[in-house]
């Protein structure tokens, strides 16, 4: 018998004595833990209610998450203005999805400028004071939406900036080259937390006296520069993967430096470095949680605040962390799935 479930089990679970022991051992551990876990997560969990008093059963108190969900997603943004956050998220989503379904010409002519405009449009909408909406100070921005906005705004600016740095690194002009190398190595070599501290304690010293630069703006600048350093390194890998013949062919057609770079090289670089770009973005997205250390109300600091709230007895750490972990995990895992599907598409080499 070589097929069927029994054969499969014989081959994959009980193929040898050590294997059988391992299987039994793992199954025993799983059988010990899984029922209790499931019970805590679902069966004995408290699903409905509004306050701590509704959490009467032994399991997880999901009421806690429910009660704080607006804070988790939108921070302290005024409730009647939340449509503005949703609008910006909608814009971001429609530009990202839209750019996948239009022809190449429209994508480069319309969607690339749209992408670059997006952070600024979002700031206009979210702040509101310049377009006649109720002004909302950045002190009230927060929650998971802030993580998303900061990550998206940083990568959108870092995309072209990192490319310029990467070009500078390949340049034959010695000065441009050394400045680019210095910038890239600096922003890659320093812990991102040190950069955040630099942004919050040193940047204010750099501006003329009396200029009060918004905290979130400083964070945006730091995240963008940090990301640009990593992106430049990703592009460098991409440049190395382009055959020399492509450059020579572009030169022999009489294309100028920028025509060659933007029309011939950039599209190919983007194509081969796409998986790495996504991996870098995942890293940036996870790193936005570090912002809680410098007092930005992103989701992790909202969670910490909720956990220490006296109305909730401060005892729902497991539920809170699990919920935040799930949010981050969904986004990051989703992106790594996309990345590996692109990789598979590009990889045509024969493997086992």
């Amino acid at each position: 018998m070589t097929t069927g479930i029994v054969a499969w089990m014989k081959n994959n679970l009980f193929s040898s004595i050590p294997n059988t022991i391992a299987t039994v051992f793992i199954l025993a551990i799983l059988a010990n833990f899984i029922p209790g876990l499931l019970d805590w997560l679902f069966f004995s969990a408290n699903w409905s209610g509004e306050t701590q008093d509704d959490c009467v059963k032994d399991g997880a108190c999901w009421v806690f998450i429910q009660a704080w969900s607006q804070q988790f997603f939108y921070g302290s943004y005024p409730t009647e203005e939340i449509w503005r956050i949703n609008l910006c998220l909608g814009l971001l989503l429609s530009v990202v999805i839209g750019s996948n379904f239009v022809s190449k010409t429209i994508r480069t002519k319309i969607f690339v400028p749209l992408f670059l405009l997006l952070p600024f449009v979002s700031i206009l909408i979210l702040n509101g004071s310049w377009i006649g909406l109720e002004p909302v100070s950045t002190d009230y921005w927060g929650g998971f939406s802030l993580n998303i906005f900061l990550a998206a705004a940083s990568i959108i600016v870092a995309f072209p900036l990192g490319f310029i740095w990467a070009l500078g690194r390949r340049s034959t002009m010695p000065l441009a080259k050394s400045i680019s190398v210095l910038l890239i190595e600096f922003f890659r070599g320093v812990p991102v937390l040190a950069l955040f501290f630099m942004g919050s304690v040193m940047l204010p010293l750099f501006f003329t006296e009396g200029t009060n630069v918004d905290k979130l703006l400083r964070v945006w600048i730091v995240l963008t520069l940090f990301m640009a350093g990593y992106m430049a390194e990703v592009y460098r890998g991409g440049f190395n993967a382009i055959p020399q013949g492509q450059y020579e062919a572009a030169d022999s057609l009489g294309l100028s430096y920028w025509q060659k770079t933007l029309l011939i090289i950039l599209p190919q670089v983007l194509k081969v470095s796409m998986p790495n770009i996504l991996a870098t973005f995942v890293m940036l997205f996870k790193n936005t949680s570090f912002l809680m250390i410098i007092g930005i109300f992103e989701i992790l600091s909202t969670t910490q605040a909720a956990l220490s709230n006296s109305y909730w007895l401060g005892g729902h750490a497991n539920e809170g962390y699990l919920f935040v972990a799930m949010l981050f995990w969904t986004v990051c895992f989703g992106m790594s799935v996309i990345s590996s599907s692109i990789e598979r598409k590009l990889n045509t080499e024969h493997r086992k």
């Binding site: 793992i26 199954l27 070599g189 812990p191 040190a194 630099m198 010293l205 501006f207 996870k286 086992k352």
Partner: protein, 391 residues
């Protein structure tokens, strides 16, 4: 008639001249940028009454540090706080690197197990832990796990030697007695001898083709030799066990919960990335290599050791380099739970007390640069060793 050569380009179209012009513009722009920054900084610092310079390193710190590897108290200087923080950073980095490597290789190899359950568990481990922010994992271990442990009197214990409670982990300490130096010397001799044996065995194999059981010989040399001397010298090492006195344990080694949470999360998080690297490395070896090895009659164990691992290491080594570097950089997250690493102590407390933002931030950045460079140099040496040598 002397005409100008028409193909001669206008001077501003000459690439060489252009490059010079661009670079002059770049320098001017950067010069202006730095001039602005520096002049602003000087004005701002004068306005706030901050003195620049490194004199503050010599003045008394006046604050205590939770954990220190060298003698330290509040009467020591700010310079000393830098050293204390630095050593704590090095400690957690080394613990993290060692355990993350072990976890990573186990997970990576488990990915190729014959057992379906082990394979799936390895995949689940990698996919869960590398997609959750490290800071969240640190918080989870610190606030949700370690701070809910029982108090000292209800400590979890392992054979009356290892105790775990909400105040930390208590391990027995190794105490040296007379004659212990001989055992240590025996250990060092064992290591040196094993290198000589390895070298000699390779020479002999190259000359005669005969193999020598290097692995077992060296195990005997490295472990057996010290053990024999240990008993010969009358067991000159003892263990000092932690003992419950009053409200807590004393004696032995104490690992504070901050260090545990940080080291644990760094290990688990980086271990997931290293596991993925090991998987990618092993998978990068073309299947033809295994088939070729089988067809010349090599055993599965030999194929792994002589064919797959050396080739996989070429892919793994550069990734290990960058993972170790990011582990050291990530150790700065200690500041979120108050483990006294360089960042918490120096950029946190010392900066708050002295206000010397520029000096302190630059000193700290310089330290991380040096760490990165050290890791890079070591890993590049390792990389060179495993890289493809064309003869």
């Amino acid at each position: 008639m002397a005409t100008k050569n028409l193909s001669e380009p206008v001077f501003y179209n000459n690439p060489g001249i252009r490059a010079v012009i661009y670079q002059i513009l770049l320098v001017l722009g950067l010069g202006y940028f730095f001039y602005l920054i520096i002049s602003n900084t000087i004005t701002n610092m004068e306005a706030r009454g901050i003195k620049s310079g490194f004199e503050f390193l010599g003045s008394t710190a006046g604050f205590d540090i939770l954990m220190s590897l060298i003698p330290y108290d509040a009467t020591h200087t700010y310079g000393k706080t830098f050293v204390v923080g630095l050593l704590n950073t090095i400690l957690v980095s080394i613990i993290g690197i060692i355990f993350a490597t072990i976890v990573g290789f186990i997970i990576g190899v488990a990915h190729f197990s014959h057992n379906w359950l082990i394979r799936k568990l390895a995949v689940i481990y990698i996919e869960i832990f590398r997609n959750i922010p490290l800071l969240l994992q640190i918080f989870f271990w610190y606030f949700a796990v370690l701070s809910t442990l029982p108090g000292a009197r209800q400590s979890l214990s392992l054979g009356e030697a290892v105790f775990l409670n909400v105040r930390g982990l208590y391990l027995p300490n190794l105490v040296r007695e007379d004659g212990s130096a001989v055992v240590i010397a025996a250990f060092i001799i064992g290591i040196l001898a094993s290198f000589i044996v390895k070298h000699w065995a390779r020479k002999r194999q190259e000359k005669t083709g005969q193999q020598f059981p290097v692995f077992y010989t060296n195990i005997v040399l490295i472990i057996g030799l010290p053990v024999v001397t240990f008993f010969a010298m009358g067991m000159p090492f003892g263990l000092e066990y932690p003992v419950l006195r009053g409200f807590n344990y004393s004696g032995g080694i104490t690992v504070i919960p901050e260090l545990m949470a940080l080291a644990l999360s760094l290990t688990i998080y980086t271990g997931a990335f290293i596991g993925e690297a090991v998987r990618a490395g092993v998978q990068s070896v073309p299947h033809g290599q295994t088939e070729a090895a089988r067809s010349i009659g090599m055993k599965e164990k030999q194929i792994m050791k002589l064919i797959i691992v050396p080739q996989a290491m070429r892919v793994i080594a550069p990734i290990l380099n960058s993972e170790y570097q990011s582990l050291v950089k990530n150790s700065t997250l200690a500041t979120a739970i108050g483990y006294p690493d360089l960042f918490t102590v120096f950029v946190g407390t010392t900066l708050n007390q002295t206000g010397q933002a520029i000096e302190i931030v630059f000193m700290t950045m310089a330290v991380y640069f040096v760490f990165n460079m050290i890791i890079s140099v070591v890993m590049n040496l390792f990389n060179k060793k495993v890289a493809l040598v064309s003869k």
